[in-house]
Amino acid sequence: MEAAYWRTPVLAETLLVARKDLRVEWRAKVALGQVAPLALLILVVLAFALDANSSLLELGAGGLYWVAVLYGGTLLIQRSFDVETDDGNMDAFRMSAIGAPSLFLGKSLALFVQIGLLELVLGSGIALLYNVRVTDWVLLFVAAVAGTVAFSVCGVLWGVMSAGLRVRATLLPLLLVPVLAPILLAGSRAFETALGVRADAGWTWASLMFVIAAIHTAIGLGAFGFLLEEG
């Protein structure tokens, strides 16, 4: 009897993969239970480092926020691929009838949600701990979305590059941070504009993040299948 191997559209497959990832997270509660509190703690520790100088914290909140996102985000990306390399799951990934682009988009979508939730926590964190006032909510939101999309897409792309290889745990941050650096830069500047700290080109910085996201998405869609092959 033939199996029903008709190709479902990319969107359906993407949602399938994303739902699976989010469900794994929902059951394991690593993002909510461990990473978010840890990232929040980083905000506290940064305040210690800056001697709780409230004007410094207020000025630097935009940047400090993204540093915490970088830290937490890297852990989440790591976790996303730990789940896949555990128990030989990469083989199932490779053998899957799901197309590589759908895998790429699905994991990116799931990461986007997870990092997004992390950012909600961190956003509340800087509002409460660093006493910031938002002057441009729209810019803030758009910049956060742009940065999160960029983080997610880059994370999945670089995550698969080091996935399944033995020294992965320290290699991934080394590969990832130079790539995330411009996002961090852009995000911080955009946030500073939105928080009224500087009257800069916040929207241009936000657009830059979208451009970075678009470029990496295009590369990911093309190269993901190729990169999945056995390490």
């Binding site: 009897m1 199996a3 191997y5 399938l16 794994v24 789940v83 128990d87 199932a92 053998m95």
Partner: protein, 217 residues
């Protein structure tokens, strides 16, 4: 009948070690083949080469009509591979995991229930996280994930491992049924007494190639 697997003088290298050293084998559709051999004989490597997970460096290799030297990814959607590891998401519930695997190959949701029942995973375990199951139960969930996809070619590496005797017999029945419906099955096993009751052909491997073949086709 068309050949499902056709390997001719196949050499495959993993890392820098030659895991297959000139393997010749032809498998027709519907056959159930038992692979035997010592550790390191190349049974796992052969199964993985059929699945296209190891690339063929020389020789001719065709699986389900696809040339493995041109595109080794092509036959994968028609293949069910069960390796030493179970490929399970530990955090998911049993049912959620098999549902995902089913949806990934376009099978219907109802197929999940049928597969789990067929394999012998009781309903009360369906909402249990996979990580808290015993090794034997996890193996059964892995088998269910394969069964639900109804593959044309089954590649099984020590499928009976961790199963109790009742489950082993059940697995043999499942394999026999699948074969009746036209699937081709190749499984590697150390089992003793040898489970060649269902196997129509026994192939012994060694040193990365076929040493004995009880029934060439």
């Amino acid at each position: 009948m068309s050949a499902v697997v056709e390997f001719e003088k196949v050499v495959a290298v993993a890392g820098s070690f030659p895991v297959l050293t000139g393997l010749d084998l032809r498998v027709a559709q519907g056959e159930v083949i038992l692979l035997r051999g010592e550790n390191g004989a190349g049974k796992t490597s052969f199964l993985r080469s059929c699945a296209g997970l190891i690339s063929v460096s020389s020789g001719d290799a065709h699986v389900l009509g696809f040339d493995m030297r041109v595109d080794r990814r092509a036959p994968r959607r028609y293949i069910g591979l069960l390796g030493h590891e179970n490929n399970l998401y530990r955090d998911l519930w049993v049912r959620e995991h098999v549902e995902f695997r089913a949806a990934a190959v376009g099978a219907a949701e109802s197929d999940t229930d049928a597969a789990l029942l067929r394999v012998g995973v009781p309903k009360q375990l369906w909402s249990v996280p996979i990580g808290s199951l015993s090794a034997g139960q996890r193996r059964k969930v892995a088998i269910a994930s394969l069964v639900v996809g109804r593959p044309r070619l089954w590649l099984l590496d020590e499928p009976h491992a961790s199963l109790d005797s009742e489950s082993r017999e059940n697995l043999d029945v499942i394999l026999a049924e699948a074969s009746q419906l036209g699937a081709t099955i190749i499984f590697a096993s150390h089992e003793s007494p040898p489970t060649n009751g269902i196997a129509s052909r026994v192939i012994t491997m060694g040193g990365g190639r076929v040493l004995e073949d009880s029934g060439a086709s």
